[in-house]
């Protein structure tokens, strides 16, 4: 029996050693691949090669992950982002690609349900990557003997080296022949090192190290599973807990509430008092919001008119930011009231009604902010921030819905943050499917007679918009000149060809950039722009 056990243990040890070796080989191979495909290239088709390697290695090292539904859904989202990176090659698709890749790895390596905790685990992977890489390497088990080996050599070398440097300096100053020989040796050494570093670039070495860190962070699971252990103790459903006054008082927040409420916060009727305070607060807040919503309904929803002389941006900028803050604050207040045992209090009916009314009113406020943004877009066209507000409002709506669900079905804050984070990931993935620069340019140019075109902004958009701008450049120029006449800005320099020149400059820059890249940087967006200018024969591009 003992011999059988020892054989089994031996096999187990061999298996662990093999797996460790495989990990190191895969991470090193990944770093080399990273160096080969990304050096002096942009993220494009090369990402597909690197990603294919990473995902294969990940599922080889953590085979159980293939059975996880969360991993499969995330993988789908990640592949959408990868496809969009090759097709649109936008900054958003690159960011989404990295976020989803990290999450796929986080969910594959650890046991998670929440994106937040998986993100925490991946952060731990990044911080611990060096230790995780060195850990599988078997070092000699012999204890280091004091005063032996390389360490001894270093210790013996320090003092003679100092003496050598000092006397070298003295002889060099004192003896001119020695000085010239030393100078010649110095020149030769400098030459040697410059040639050596030409062949063996420092930047390339650092880039390899970066590849090692990135591949290691994704493939090597950290031994610190703090976040997965923490998450294992969390549930979606709220549990009723009984806390002693002593336990409650240990929290700083309770101490603050007690300071304001006095004995009402800690006595026998504390839950009832909390309920009453909540009802009064929500009643007052609902009345206040009703007034604001009534004003918005009248002036914004039903009888909106652009005021002459007052720019639209004033109305949007003044209103939007504060309203968004108020909606987020509203959710925080609701989370405060429904944080604990008030959810289970029998007479909380009116508190719940007040909360639902406030959620509905806040949803209406979201609608008002949306209308402000919409009117702004109608007058000034699309821009990044205006689209950003729309996405933010969508997230806020999801947030309000989940707050409602939390109160209705007695869910925990963990549920709330988990669902909202997943919603955020879905929205992020969907947002990558649109080339926003092209969308903005197309939308604004199509409505050039109704919106105030910001031509310099359009010229600052990514290269994919160049063909579109090139087709419309004359009308853009005319538009700009018209605006100058309307504004009667006599001091402004006349601009008959400046936009055309700027566009030509952008085309040239695009051509120069494209010549620096190899097939590894191929992406549909650049290929489309390249083909357009090749067809126009405006610039010659090497294939």
């Amino acid at each position: 029996m003992n011999s059988l056990q020892s054989i089994a243990m031996k096999y187990e040890n061999n298996d662990t050693m093999n797996r460790d070796l495989v990990k190191i080989v895969l991470v090193t191979a990944g770093a080399v691949l990273f160096n080969l495909v990304f050096w002096n290239e942009k993220l494009a088709i090369n990402t597909v090669l690197f990603d294919a390697f990473l995902l294969s290695a990940l599922f080889y090292l953590y085979p159980q992950a293939r059975r996880s539904a969360a991993v499969n859904w995330l993988l789908l989202g990640h592949l959408v982002c990868l496809a969009m990176l090759v097709v649109h090659n936008t900054e958003l698709s690159k960011i989404a690609f990295f976020i989803t890749l990290l999450l796929v790895a986080g969910f594959a390596e650890y046991s998670h349900r929440s994106v937040w905790y998986a993100g925490g685990s991946m952060l731990m992977n990044i911080v611990m990557v060096v230790a995780s890489f060195v850990e599988p390497i078997r070092f000699s088990r012999k204890p280091a003997v004091k005063g032996k080996g390389f360490s001894r050599l270093i210790r013996f070398a320090v003092f003679p080296l100092i003496l050598l440097v000092v006397f070298f300096c003295i002889y060099r100053v004192a003896n001119s022949v020695f000085s010239s020989i030393a100078a010649q040796i110095g020149v030769q050494l400098e030459l040697f090192f410059s040639h050596f570093f030409d062949f063996f670039s420092w930047q390339r070495l650092l880039f390899l190290l970066l590849g090692l860190l990135i591949t290691g962070s994704i493939l090597l699971k950290s031994k610190l599973d703090y976040f997965s252990v923490r998450e294992a103790g969390l549930n979606d459903g709220l549990q009723r807990t009984r806390k002693t006054l002593h336990e409650k008082r240990s929290g700083a927040f309770f101490q603050f509430v007690e300071l304001i409420m006095g004995k009402m916060a800690s006595g026998m009727l504390s839950l009832k008092n909390e309920n009453t305070t909540g009802i009064i607060s929500l009643l007052l807040l609902n009345v206040l919001l009703l007034v604001v919503n009534a004003i918005d309904l009248n002036f914004l929803w039903l009888h909106f008119q652009y005021k002459t002389g007052e720019p639209v941006y004033k109305m949007v900028h003044e209103g939007t930011e504060l309203l968004i803050v108020s909606i987020v604050l509203a959710m925080v207040i609701l989370l405060f009231f429904f944080k604990g045992n008030l959810n289970f209090y029998k007479r909380n009916k009116w508190l719940k009604y007040g909360a639902y009314a406030w959620i509905i009113q806040n949803a209406m406020l979201v609608g008002s902010v949306f209308l402000r943004d919409y009117y702004y877009i109608l007058r000034h066209g699309l821009a990044y921030k205006r689209i950003g507000v729309l996405f933010f409002l969508l997230m806020v709506l999801v947030g309000l819905l989940t707050v409602f669900l939390k109160i209705w079905s007695r869910k925990t804050n963990y549920f709330l943050f988990r669902v909202n984070a997943w919603a955020g990931i879905v929205i992020l993935v969907l947002a990558t499917t649109i080339h926003w620069d092209e969308f903005i340019a197309a939308y604004n140019l199509k409505r050039q007679n109704t919106v105030d075109l910001d031509v310099p902004f359009l010229l600052s958009l990514s290269d994919k918009t160049l063909p579109l701008l090139d087709t419309n450049i004359t009308s853009l120029q005319q538009r700009q000149n018209q605006l100058q006449v309307t504004m009667r800005d006599v001091n402004a320099p006349s601009c008959d060809t400046c936009f055309i020149e700027q566009l030509k400059q952008r085309e040239k820059q695009f051509a120069v950039k494209q010549q620096q890249y190899s097939w590894l940087s191929w992406n549909y967006a650049d290929a489309y722009t390249k083909r357009y200018f090749q067809r126009k024969k405006r610039i010659t591009l090497t294939q």
Binding site: V134, E135, K146, K223
Partner: protein, 136 residues
């Protein structure tokens, strides 16, 4: 106390080796002023980098708590100390030149020699570090 003494050991060795390497490199390239400058690097290095001990000691303390083997913990510590060195010289470069990295500047030269010094300092202090890990 042991933690602080090991941190101080790592610090003084790195500063000393940095000055030594800087001087040796200057001797090899035949720059006499830089050779003398290594004395300034030594003295100024000790004065300006004393506060770094308050970063080195917590890093060393964190490394003692990691559930990894001793070589892995030492590697983790070395890597994070290198990051501290790089950040220190970036800060130094921003104050001196107004940019994070200026190629072939003194800051970059010193950063290279400091990293080399740090690697040797960790290597020659590994017994004290190992002892610290086994004690805690």
């Amino acid at each position: 106390m042991k933690l602080l003494s090991v941190s101080a050991k790592l610090w003084w060795k790195t500063v000393f080796l940095n000055a030594l390497f800087f001087g040796t490199w200057a001797a090899l390239t035949g720059d006499i002023f830089d050779m003398l400058g290594s004395v300034i690097v030594l003295v100024a290095g000790y004065i300006t980098t004393v506060p770094l001990i308050i970063i080195i000691a917590p890093l060393l303390n964190i490394s003692t708590m990691l559930p990894y083997s001793i070589p892995a913990r030492i590697a983790w510590l070395t890597f994070h100390l290198i990051i501290v060195v790089v950040l220190f010289y970036m800060f130094f470069s921003v104050i001196e030149k107004g940019a994070l990295f200026v190629p072939d500047s003194y800051a970059v030269q010193l950063m290279r020699t400091t990293i080399a010094g740090l690697l040797i300092a960790v290597f020659t202090t590994r017994r004290s570090i190992t002892k610290l890990y086994s004690e805690i």
